[in-house]
């Protein structure tokens, strides 16, 4: 019996109803370890080029890692890996909560699903036994109702499940997957892939004693250290109280809050949306993921007119900005309602908000035809229309619901008339709520990340700039990040940091560990990551070995995208980010070394940014058009991938 993992991958073919178990040796587990890297192995190996993401041929891989389920902070997560229906790229959508440890306790390290069920179904896994069961009676139901019906039917009130609502069933291209109705695999449309397979839920129940660890006492010791120290981490000092929503206060303070489809950097009364206001008004509870004391999740409740149900949690920063300021809205209760609806219907709050914000700008500019709007006054600030649009998107109701359900890229292609210039997406994925004009490394992640405009490709630039706390800079040193670099730089130092951080975050996504708990910025230091992995598995690993894991995932994802036809030219930002961010007319201070122009009106210089990406390609040892070199793939012990792209 191995330590940390079960040695079993569950395979389910929904077309034939065939269920099988695949076993791999220790070398395979040590090569891929889990999450995005394990998912990339299957996706590139087993899928043909050009598969329709919503066809039965698309694979849907749900993968925790060899560390998942160990009782330590940040080890609750899993990846959902598939070909994205939104971008047609590699998709690795990560989510926390409670499902992934339960899958490990139930006897499996990952699930690989293919085919399409003739009728709605769900997969039920209990202590190794697997069934495909009828889900006709819960198809069409919102996530919470379906979840409770399934639990009641199974007589398992503590079963954990990945589940979709009507958004996934209707194949909204940015539909997500929920667990506990508030933890999401949010980005890229994995919920639509579930819907395309007539798969309502994947339900698991296991025995926590079944998973073995090499040195349980060491894990507990490291866990205890975390519990004693995490509140000293600068981010956690307020993170516990306000969650990620606290970031909105920063964005507001220096006018970098995405507002009105990223046209502006601030909005009057933005503080109404802040984590502090939430804590002072509608917050009822702070929650956490499996074995994690950080407690960053929010639970909110309101009275009339919105009557927000606390069962569906509460909004985080991305949601507050996407469905709030980015739509010109500063009503916290309305945004909390939108968050509840997205969790009921399984919609990604980022893509939903950015798509609605884009539609609002098109409407105000007269680019959306009246007959496409179904009589709605789709203006910035119209919170009732924003909520109505969430309903219509989830159900693909009317012309406007259908138009917006396909995301910003397709919508802008249909509208044309120059709307492409303010269509805020990269490779089709709506950009997250961090303006790249003030964080160029995040911008490179948007432009070059395998899944498109995601904000968790690298640690953000401001954590290593001239203002960052010493502790962040110190903790990044084992990665070779030895100097502070300005947030708006696109010089070689920034590119090098990007390469290192990209692979570091890629190892996070392969070990499915939480960025809010591990270095370079959070509580666990680099050494703790290695110590924890060794305590879980009994192996003697190193940061070097783990960085190779990260590089492996980065390059397999790049190879997948290359095979699908993505090239260097596709690594670009929306045009809006090459013009200056409109800040408030703010008073300015002066101090030695400050760049007043960049601080007042930040923008990305297209030529410099392109040169930075070219340099990054050279540092990553990719060919000019984006193909990983043969030697690179062999060096990463994935030589089998060569024949996929050569």
């Amino acid at each position: 019996m191995p330590n940390g993992y079960n040695g079993k991958i569950l395979r389910v073919d929904l077309t034939t109803k065939q269920i099988s178990v695949e076993e791999h040796d220790e070398v395979w587990y040590r090569t891929y370890m889990g999450g995005g890297c394990m998912g990339a192995y299957y996706l590139l190996n087993e899928m043909e080029k050009g598969v329709d993401p919503l066809s039965p041929d698309n694979l849907l891989i749900m993968a925790p890692s060899i560390m998942t389920g160990a009782p330590a902070a940040g080890l609750s997560r899993h990846a959902v890996v598939t070909k994205s229906p939104l971008t047609h790229t590699f998709l690795d959508s990560q989510g926390g909560g409670w499902w992934a440890p339960e899958l490990k306790f139930a006897g499996y390290d990952a699930i690989v699903i293919k085919g399409k069920s003739e009728n709605p179904c769900y997969i039920w896994i209990k202590n190794g036994a697997v069934e495909i069961r009828d889900a006709s009676h819960v198809w069409g139901k919102i996530t919470g109702e379906a979840q409770e019906d399934i639990r009641a039917e199974l007589g398992e009130p503590k079963a954990r499940m990945l589940i979709i609502g009507p958004g996934g069933e209707n194949m909204v291209k940015y539909a997500c997957i929920l667990n506990e109705c508030k933890h999401a695999n949010g980005r890229g449309g994995s919920g639509a892939v579930m819907g395309s397979k007539n798969l309502k839920a994947v339900v698991v129940k296991g025995d926590s004693k079944s998973l073995k660890f090499a040195d349980y006492d060491k894990i507990l010791k490291i866990s205890k250290w975390f519990a004693e120290n995490y509140m000293d981490n600068p981010s956690n000092k307020s993170g516990y109280y306000f969650g990620s929503a606290d970031y909105l206060t920063h964005q507001t303070e220096w006018s970098e809050l995405p507002t009105n489809n990223f046209a502006l950097g601030n909005i009057k009364d933005a503080e109404n949306l802040s984590g502090t206001t939430m804590a002072e008004t509608i917050l009822t509870k702070r929650e956490r993921c499996f074995a994690c004391p950080v407690t960053c999740k929010r639970v909110v409740k309101t009275g009339a007119p919105y009557n927000v149900d606390p069962f569906y949690g509460g909004p985080e920063y991305e949601t507050l900005s996407a469905l709030g300021s980015n739509c010109g809205i500063v009503d916290l209760e309305a945004v909390a309602k939108a968050n509840e609806l997205c969790n009921k219907y399984s919609l990604d709050t980022i893509s939903t908000g950015v798509t609605i914000g884009f539609a609002m700008e098109c409407y105000e500019k007269g680019l959306l035809a009246a007959e496409d709007c179904d009589g709605l006054d789709i203006r910035f600030g119209n919170k009732d229309v924003m909520l109505e649009l969430v309903e219509r998107i989830a159900h693909r109701k009317g012309r406007i619901g259908n138009l917006l359900a396909d995301g910003v890229k397709i919508l802008s292609e249909k509208i044309g008339k120059g709307s492409e210039n303010f269509a805020i997406h990269t490779k089709g994925l709506e950009v997250a709520l961090h303006d790249p004009r003030v964080k160029t490394g995040v911008g490179m992640g948007y432009a070059c990340g395998a899944i498109g405009g995601d904000h968790v490709v690298v640690e953000h630039d401001n954590d290593f700039d001239e203002f960052a706390p010493d502790i962040y800079v110190e903790q990044a040193k084992p990665l070779g990040i030895l100097r502070r670099v300005n947030s708006m730089s696109v010089g070689p130092e920034k590119v090098r940091n990007f390469c290192y951080l990209q692979d570091h975050f890629s190892l996070f996504d392969s070990l499915t560990i939480c960025v809010l708990t591990f270095a370079p910025v959070r509580t666990f230091k680099m050494k703790h990551l290695v110590e924890l992995l060794d305590a879980v598995t009994g192996w003697e690993t190193s940061l070097w070995e783990l960085m190779k894991l990260g590089e492996r995932r980065t390059n397999l994802a790049k190879a997948f995208n290359y095979r699908e036809g993505f090239r260097r030219k596709d690594d670009k930002l929306p045009e809006r980010f090459y013009s200056a961010l409109v800040k408030e007319n703010i008073p300015i201070v002066e101090f030695p070394g400050m760049n007043k122009e960049k601080m007042l009106a930040p923008k990305i210089d297209k030529e410099e940014f392109d040169a930075a990406i070219d340099l990054m390609y050279e540092m990553m040892n990719w060919e000019e058009d984006g193909r990983p070199r043969k030697a690179r793939l062999h060096e990463l012990d994935v030589g089998w991938a060569v024949e996929k792209i050569y």
Binding site: S235, Y247, H250, H455, D463, F467, I586, V589
Partner: protein
């Protein structure tokens, strides 16, 4: 003497129950002088929020008149100062 407005956001607003206070400082006082004085006057919980309790170094971010500034920035009459935690979004 100069007077500076300290805006209380996030944890500080939550714990102290108000949005701003006025501080009287010596001419030439820096942001660090101001925040050390403020934390000394408001107890260890506030001090631990702004400074690392082991090293004593600042872990917060400082904003003057809507611009992020280094901690040695010399404050002027009627400057508006905000203290923020270094949290990233997600």
């Amino acid at each position: 003497m100069i007077e500076v407005m300290l805006h209380l956001r996030s944890f500080l607003r939550y714990k102290l129950g108000k949005s701003e206070i006025t501080m009287s400082l010596e001419d030439g006082n820096t942001v660090e002088d101001a925040v050390r004085k403020f934390s000394n006057e408001n107890g260890p919980e506030i001090a631990n929020y702004i400074f690392d309790k082991k090293t004593g170094k600042p872990t917060a971010l400082f904003v003057v008149n809507k611009c992020q500034v280094p901690i040695n920035y010399a404050l002027k009459e009627n400057d508006e100062l905000t203290i923020l935690p270094p949290i990233a979004g997600g």
